[in-house]
């Protein structure tokens, strides 16, 4: 069973490598294969090949979340653009903490990264479900604590 998984992983990696614009010349495609095996070996060595890491079964719920996230990014980018170019006195840095609604590793990683990728909020620590966020202004902190991002991620990964 493990062998099947390893071969499947190498096949997937090689497919991606081919898609990335493979040169099917003699020393090159073998090198591609070698690099796939190398990646797999490094991944196993780091102990990252666990089943719970990637929420592949949740992928169908992601597009809707991404659309919302891109809109949030547009809003917060414009907000921070104003702060960057405006007077420094407009900054009111503060740290807030809240509990994540969904506690799976995938949901926590998604939450932390979503917070960080919207400028104005920066995840600085995640311990179990407690998320610590550095906010640039009172408004960004209030928006975050209002919790719509937290709720949406709990909808994406409801376990």
């Amino acid at each position: 069973m493990q062998a099947v998984r390893l071969v499947a992983a190498i096949a997937m990696l090689y497919l991606v490598w081919v898609l990335w614009g493979a040169l099917m010349k003699t020393p090159v495609w073998q090198l591609g294969l070698v690099s796939c095996v190398l990646v797999l070996w490094l991944t196993l060595r780091m102990g990252l090949a666990r089943n719970d890491l990637l929420g592949v079964h949740l992928l169908h719920r992601m597009p809707r979340y991404w659309v919302w996230l891109v809109w949030q990014m547009v809003l917060s980018n414009l907000q921070v653009l104003k702060l960057v170019l405006g007077p420094r006195s407009a900054l009111q840095p503060r740290v807030v903490e809240f509990e994540a609604e969904a506690g799976s590793p995938f949901a926590l990683a998604l939450l932390g990264n979503s917070i960080t990728i919207t400028p104005g909020t920066l995840t600085i620590d995640i311990a179990q479900r407690k998320v610590t966020v550095h906010c640039l202004t009172r408004e960004t902190a209030d928006e975050l604590l209002e919790g719509s991002m937290n709720r949406r991620i709990a909808q994406v990964d409801p376990d």
Binding site: R88, T123, H134
Partner: protein, 114 residues
């Protein structure tokens, strides 16, 4: 049609470049470490989305567009992870942001386990 597409993709790329520039300005202008990361984060959120979006319009429906989309996806996953790693490393090595009274989770967990 081609003309309009060119104009739209040019506008996307230029505005993306402006966001990247603003990120650079932000990293220089902000007063302390954590706020500097906020300023610099302009560089890796909407900036690449706009630039790569403009490039995708240029390449049309082809394998190149798929590759650009993959680049964008990986950037959207890795750049906030890198920002988090930077901020968390600063926090764990003792640089406390203003108004932070808690204990960083990693230290807490280690303390509880031992």
């Amino acid at each position: 049609m081609n003309g309009i597409l060119d104009i739209v993709s040019g506008l996307l790329m230029v505005s993306g470049a402006l966001f990247v520039l603003a990120g650079g300005i932000g990293a220089l202008r902000m007063p302390d470490f954590y706020t500097r990361i906020h300023g610099a984060s302009l560089t890796d959120s909407l900036g690449p989305v706009l630039v790569l979006g403009g490039l995708m319009l240029q390449s049309g429906l082809s394998l190149v567009t798929l590759k650009l989309a993959a680049v964008l996806l990986f950037l959207m996953i890795t750049s906030p992870t890198a920002s988090y790693a930077l901020a968390n490393a600063a926090l764990l090595s003792g640089l406390r942001p203003a108004g932070y009274a808690g204990t960083p989770g990693e230290q807490l967990e280690k303390g509880e386990r031992s």
